[in-house]
């Protein structure tokens, strides 16, 4: 059960990181993020499906590996492009505007991106063929863990390692950390703050693109999938402490586990119908009792 939670949590983690990265640098909740996730996922179905790579469950292993790898890269680039365009078009000119104005704009961008998805991909859910085998990795007393679920974890782990390295050790990562701690001080160190912000949005978008492709391995995506998933990932980010990368991953895995245990069969849990209520109940509880999250630091604002 914990492992299934880990799989769901991995996808949430990739999306939650996008919220937390952007929040860390602009103190902005990018409400459009979930919709960037959905649009990137829909775009990925086009890639994998007939039109481009034409992968099916009968494709050769090499074809599947190659096609999927390419899809991950393309979906990441696509998500990055969409997300940084949103920043450039909508948020950049509001740099010195009151936060509320930016927040409302973010909600507006969410609707815009969602409707773009709707216009291009209509209301039907899209999926990809079962490329990764659903065979069992192991089976412990009736709890089955399958390869496709394991695959999600297998892809997420190196992405997280890479992200950590990028933020901790590269020049661009240092610029991001400096900008999030004090943008003006960063500017007079010679950091191009606007470019750093663009990069952060691109990075967040790329994670959403990878997350969406992984999501497709197990589930369908349609134009409004990003709304709920985005809110859950946002909850995960808040649970871990918004602005804190490790926190986002921890929060996401916790939420994934809570969901898995709740929806699991072995004991008297409330069940699937209650998952969202539980998750958002957690969100409210954190905001009331520990707004800085599990790993966040208390700030004078208390947020």
């Amino acid at each position: 059960m914990a492992l299934i939670g880990l799989t769901t949590g991995a996808v949430y983690a990739l999306v939650a990181l996008g919220y937390t990265l952007v929040y860390g640098i602009l103190q902005l909740i990018n409400f459009a993020h979930g919709d960037v996730f959905a649009l990137s996922g829909l775009f990925a179905t086009t890639m994998i499906g007939g039109a481009v790579f034409g992968l099916t469950d009968t494709s050769t292993t090499l074809g599947v590996v190659g096609g999927l790898t390419a899809t991950f890269v393309i979906a990441a680039v696509f998500g990055a492009a969409v997300n940084s365009s949103i920043e450039f078009v909508a948020y950049r000119r509001l740099r010195s505007a009151p936060r509320l104005a930016v927040l409302i704009t973010a909600v507006g961008m969410s609707f815009i991106v969602q409707n773009i998805s709707l216009a291009i991909y209509d209301v039907n859910a899209r999926s990809i063929p079962p490329l990764i085998s659903g065979h069992t990795v192991f089976n412990i007393s009736g709890v089955v863990y399958t390869w496709d679920a394991f695959f999600v974890v297998l892809v997420t782990a190196p992405v997280l390692v890479l992200l950590t390295w990028l933020v901790k050790s590269t020049r661009q990562g240092k610029a991001m950390r400096a900008t999030s701690q004090d943008p003006e001080a960063a500017a007079i160190m010679g950091i191009n703050v606007n470019r750093t912000i663009s990069f952060t949005f691109a990075l967040a978008g790329a994670l959403a693109g990878i997350g969406a492709t992984l999501y497709l391995v197990e589930f369908n995506i349609r134009y409004d999938t990003g709304f709920t998933l985005g809110l859950i990932a946002f909850t995960a980010a808040v649970l871990g402490g918004i602005g804190n990368l490790t926190g986002a991953v921890l929060g996401a895995i916790l939420i994934g586990m809570i969901q898995a245990f709740n929806e699991g069969l072995s004991w008297n849990a409330p069940g699937t119908a209650w998952t969202k209520s539980i998750v958002f109940g957690i969100l409210i509880a954190i905001l009331v009792f520990r707004p800085e999250g599990l790993l966040g630091e208390r700030t004078p604002e208390g947020a």
Partner: protein, 245 residues
């Protein structure tokens, strides 16, 4: 109001600079110049426009009118990161260290645009030489330093850019007298090593001691400019800024 120019050429020139915060006109036509090798100080009361002058130069607040020329290049509307590249660095008001970075990381951020590893290494040693305390605390986070140590770190960080012009905003603010003396001693040392300095200070006495020339700002305008020595003897300055009767 005659000024004796320093030996060097004009490195920085502001001409009729007007800068606004929203609709508030903080600078109402500032004209000043800094010569190579000098220490020039801007003194004046709170809200006179000292910090805004520095923020106009470094690109954080773009002037609405007037021009700022550095080494013959017009930098009036350049973004901050380009201005750093041209050779102006700053220790800002309130020090503004990166609170979650260590002293060493903060100093390295100062050299963000540089690629000459050996030069950065040299400058790090130079900063540790000027401020041995920073070497002792290099692994400590910026936010946990004392006020005096933070100030040292902020000045050190600005030096790591190897600037042609170093701007210091209120380096003595909130420091114990012993630290103030020490900081000014080091400002003199940095200048004697060849860096031109533009110094903003509320502590006019110390500032005029350290500088060759000074500008007195009043409500966004230059009220007075002269040799530092002569400003110290100016009756008006003594009454208003040196607290003498």
């Amino acid at each position: 109001m005659s000024t004796t120019a320093g030996n060097g050429q004009v490195i920085l020139k502001l001409d009729g600079v007007h800068t606004f915060y929203g609709t508030i006109e903080a600078l109402k036509g500032i004209t000043l110049e800094v010569h190579e090798g000098e220490v020039v100080t801007l003194i004046g009361a709170n809200g006179a426009g000292k910090s805004t002058t520095l923020r106009s130069i470094n690109g954080l607040n773009t002037p609405r009118e007037g021009s700022i020329v550095f080494q013959g290049k017009n930098i009036t509307r350049r973004p901050p990161h380009e201005i750093v590249q041209m050779g102006i660095s700053q220790s800002p008001e309130g020090r503004r260290l990166f609170p979650h970075m260590t002293v060493l990381e903060n100093l390295e951020m100062g050299a963000f645009q540089r690629k000459d590893r050996s030069g950065i290494r040299e400058d790090l040693d130079r900063v540790y030489g000027l401020f041995p305390r920073l070497a002792e605390r290099k692994g400590q986070r910026g936010g946990t330093l004392s006020g005096g140590e933070q100030q040292m770190c902020a000045i050190g960080r600005a030096l790591m850019a190897r600037p042609k012009l170093l701007m210091l905003d209120e380096p003595s603010m909130g420091l114990a007298p012993i630290f103030v003396e020490k900081i000014f001693e080091i400002i003199g040392e940095i200048n004697s090593q060849g860096t031109t300095i533009l110094l903003v200070e509320q502590n006019a006495l110390m500032a005029l001691d350290a500088a060759q020339r000074g500008y007195v700002l009043e409500t966004g305008k230059v009220a007075l400019t002269d040799d530092a020595k002569r400003l110290r003897e100016n009756e008006q300055v003594r009454k208003t800024y040196l607290g003498e009767e």
